[in-house]
């Protein structure tokens, strides 16, 4: 936005200043519209994706998996990106949501929508409790503490009889409002949920609550001095973040129709979600989308090109991660924006001679 006109405007008369301001606000509106158009385009293409020719069932399933990663990363981004509390324990909330819904479905025979609501709610309650326990932690200590939480959930799931441990709980087919849904139907349910969580985060960031979160991130002391209730907003951030990731967990459980400690005690989910948030850009609406794609789709892509998956895929994954971080330490979205701004500036400079 910082164009040559703005820089010089201080020397000119106030009319020039006003024109520059008008131009800037017009550009900002334009950028906002562009963002909306981009989002709408993204979701519209996702809606028609399963109907497109040449797309098979497994592709829709793969897309569903990516959607779940995006949603889980959105949960992490509320806490890590907007509130500044780094979490390596959101795999725990994934498990909480998954098991809450799985147990409901098994014992009460509820459908997917009830599962989503209840799973999100239970995760929010546990997130609230965790937020209160770790009220005084920050930085690296918070990261290690939340990692401990993920291990704790793993141990509970492994050892408490109701969760069936490694045996796992098999779930029946998915029902929504009495109708049975298949892979494609499940994809649409996930997509709709993702749309809701995205809208939720969009509104949250622009609300007073979101501003309080960001104030706490930027400086806890300054925020508290300005009247932000630290305890309340921190705990709220934990609950909201846990709820979004918990809902992703519900979808995950019903996607594979099976929950077991083998899957949900795995610490790597927690790490993957954090990586997704960091790679995409932690405090950008589009960040989790890019990051989720990176984490969930890259292994598939590598397997497609490399004959021997596993080890070589690991090396490529690590190399790609380091490459992205060196090229764009603030995340891919931010990096891309900066890159295009740089291009525009270069072009302008060459145009002016």
């Amino acid at each position: 936005m910082k164009n040559a006109m703005m820089d010089k405007s201080t020397e000119f008369s106030s009319t020039a200043l006003r024109t520059a301001r008008k131009l800037r606000s017009a550009r900002r509106i334009q950028a906002g519209r562009l963002k909306w158009a981009g989002m709408a385009g993204l979701f519209a293409s996702a809606v028609v994706f399963p109907l497109a020719p040449g797309v098979e069932g497994w592709m829709a399933s793969e897309a569903t998996l990516i959607i779940m990663y995006i949603m889980a990363a959105q949960g992490v981004s509320i806490l890590t990106g907007y509130t500044g509390l780094v979490t390596v324990g959101h795999g725990g909330f994934l498990a909480v949501g998954a098991y809450a819904s799985a147990l409901m479905t098994m014992h009460l025979g509820t459908d997917l929508l009830t599962g989503i609501i209840v799973g999100g709610f239970v995760a929010a309650v546990i997130g609230c409790a965790l937020g209160l326990v770790f009220l005084r932690l920050s930085g690296a200590f918070m990261a290690i503490g939340t990692l401990g939480f993920a291990f704790f959930i793993g141990t509970v799931v492994n050892n408490v009889p109701i969760f069936e441990g490694r045996e796992g709980i098999s779930l029946p087919g998915n029902h929504v409002l009495g109708y049975e849904i298949g892979d494609i139907g499940f994809f649409y349910v996930s997509l709709a949920t993702l749309a809701i969580t995205t809208l939720f985060i969009y509104c949250l960031v622009r609300s007073a609550v979101g501003r309080a979160f960001m104030a706490l991130r930027d400086s806890e002391k300054a925020a508290e001095a300005s009247g932000v209730n630290r305890v309340f907003y921190r705990t709220l951030a934990f609950s909201m973040s846990a709820a979004v990731t918990g809902i992703a967990g519900v979808l995950f459980a019903h996607y594979v129709n099976y929950v077991s400690s083998e899957v949900f005690a795995d610490i790597w989910y927690s790490v993957d979600f954090l990586v997704a948030t960091v790679v995409g850009g932690s405090a950008v609406l589009l960040g989790p989308f890019v990051g989720g794609l990176f984490v969930a789709f890259l292994p598939t892509l590598i397997e497609f090109f490399v004959d021997q998956p596993g080890d070589l895929a690991f090396i490529i994954k690590g190399g790609a991660l380091i490459f992205v971080l060196i090229m764009a330490p603030a995340g891919v979205v931010e990096g891309t924006v900066r890159f295009f701004r740089w291009i525009t500036r270069i072009r302008k400079e060459t145009a002016h001679g």
Binding site: V133, G139, F141, A143, L147, F151, V279, A313, I322, L325
Partner: protein, 289 residues
């Protein structure tokens, strides 16, 4: 029974301490939560295996080879990756070490396979009796090594020029730089030291557990828990934390059942962080991390 659990707990704890100290040293000098620390050890153990099995080296030669390899690895990691993004916030640094973790995991799996192997040299299984408890010779040797390394570190930090410079960088990097301390070199030295400690941690623990790409994952996590006991800042605190974890988890494993071992470490950490966020021996120093 109790005395025996206590001693073998101390022996395991002294191995955790090697990782914990490396974690503290790297964190306080570079703000980096180093997830690749365990994998440095893992590569070191594999180097030792290769030296013993394929080249017929003895235990000490293998250990020396692992030390050289791991120091090189630490320096390489700093030079190629961490220095490029040294100015970023700590979350980016943390994620970058995860990238190193993936690469080292993949490299080990690619060259040596994913299956678990036994370390080619095992200690004499005849136990020794010390103060009423029975302890295996391997544990005694490991404790002796760990104590020796602790002594070396103490001398290094207390009396050598580099060690004092390192402490100065820990306290205040900017002032240290103004006083003429080559901060970049010290950071390089820090990663070299992380490699040095990693080599011992890997080669000493390998005969007790096994050799595989994921052999150090759990040890690393316990090393972090131990480091938090020292507030991620104090080396004696980290060592004490590691010994406590070793003893507590051994007691829990003995009296409650083996699958509560890891859970014990994390119950301890969650309690500690909830009650004393600065760590048990942490200094009340405001650090913006």
């Amino acid at each position: 029974m109790f005395g025996q659990q206590l001693i073998s707990g101390l022996a395991t704890g002294s191995l955790y301490a090697l990782t914990a100290v490396a974690v503290v040293v790297v964190f306080r000098n570079t703000r980096t939560i180093n997830l690749a620390q365990g994998d440095f050890s893992m590569i070191g153990a594999f180097i030792a295996v290769v030296l013993i099995k394929d080249l017929g080296a003895n235990y000490y030669l293998a250990l020396a080879g692992a030390v050289v390899g791991c120091i090189g690895l630490g320096i390489l990691a700093e030079r190629l990756v961490m220095r490029q993004i040294a100015d970023s916030d700590w979350l980016t640094l943390f994620t970058a070490t995860l990238g190193i973790y993936y690469i080292l995991h993949g490299v080990a799996g690619y060259f040596w396979g994913r299956d678990t192997k036994a370390f080619p040299i095992s200690f004499d299984p005849t136990p020794i009796e010390i103060v009423g408890g029975i302890i295996s010779q391997g544990h005694v040797i490991n404790m002796a090594w760990a104590a020796a390394i602790g002594l070396v570190l103490y001398v290094f930090f207390k009396y050598t020029k580099q060690g004092i410079a390192m402490r100065a960088v820990t306290d205040d990097p900017e002032t240290a730089e103004l006083m003429g301390i080559p901060v970049r070199f010290i950071v390089l030295l820090t990663w070299g030291m992380a490699g040095f400690l990693a080599a011992f941690a890997g080669v000493l623990i390998a005969p007790i557990i096994y050799v595989a790409p994921e052999m150090m994952d759990e040890v690393l996590i316990k090393g972090y828990v131990a480091a938090v006991f020292g507030g991620l800042y104090s080396i004696p605190g980290a060592i004490l934390g590691a010994l406590m974890i070793g003893v507590c988890e051994n007691l829990a494993g003995g009296y409650l059942g083996s699958h509560y071992k890891t859970a014990t470490a994390f119950t301890m950490i969650v309690l500690l962080l909830a009650l004393r966020p600065q760590g048990l021996f942490g200094i009340q120093k405001r650090r913006e991390v």
